[in-house]
Symmetry: C2
Subunit: 110 residues, 2 copies
C-alpha cells in the first residue's frame, strides 16, 4: 500500500489533499514565504537562504512548479522563480472554503 485510495474520494477532497501535501514540508513553506517576501523577482539563492543542499531545493521547487504554484523563467545560467498568482488564488479559494467550514450554521454537540 503506501498510496492513497484517491478513487473513493471526491475531486475536491483529492485536490485539497494534493495542495496541502505541498505545504506539508517546512522547506516548501519557507520557499513560498521567501518568494512572497522579496519584492523583486527572485533569481536563485534559495540554497543559501534555506539550509538544504541544492538538489534538495531543486526537488522541492519541482513539486511546487508541477502544482502550478510557482513558475520559473530561465535567465542566463540562473532561473527566476516566482509565485503564479492566478493559480495561487485558485488554490487559496479552495483551501479557504475548506478551512472556513466552521462558519456554517450547525448545532452544538459534544
Amino acid at each position: 500500500m503506501g498510496l492513497a485510495k484517491t478513487e473513493i474520494f471526491t475531486d475536491e477532497q483529492n485536490q485539497i489533499s494534493v495542495f496541502a501535501k505541498a505545504f506539508g514540508h517546512p522547506a516548501r513553506v519557507a520557499i513560498l514565504q521567501h518568494l512572497f517576501k522579496i519584492d523583486t523577482c527572485f533569481c536563485g539563492d534559495l540554497v543559501k537562504e534555506i539550509g538544504l543542499a541544492q538538489p534538495t531545493i531543486s526537488q522541492h521547487l519541482k513539486e511546487l512548479k508541477y502544482l502550478g504554484l510557482i513558475k520559473g523563467t530561465v535567465e542566463g545560467t540562473s532561473v527566476c522563480y516566482c509565485i503564479d498568482m492566478d493559480n495561487w488564488k485558485e488554490m487559496k479559494d479552495l483551501m479557504t472554503a475548506f478551512l472556513g467550514q466552521d462558519l456554517l450554521p450547525k448545532d452544538e454537540c459534544c
Copy 2:
C-alpha cells in the same frame, strides 16, 4: 533520510507544515468535512461513510486527534468524534495568514 530537517526552520514554518500534512490525505479531508457537515454529534459510522477499513479510519482519526483538531468522547461501545473548535480556529488563523500573503503589497515581477 526520509525525515524533514525541522531544526533549520522556524516554529511557524514547522507548524504550518504539520497541519498541512494532516490535510495531505483525502481520507482525513473527508473525515473533517463529514464532522463539520453533520449537525448532531457523530458517533462512528465513518467507516461506512468513507470506504476504508476500520483500522485505517482509526489510524487517521488518531492523527487528527493528536494534532488536536478533533476530540473523541467514549459513549458506551462507540466513540463520539467532533471538531475541536478552539484548536481548529487557531490552526485556521495560522493557515489563513500563510495563504493570505498575496495580499501584502509588493512589486510586480516576472
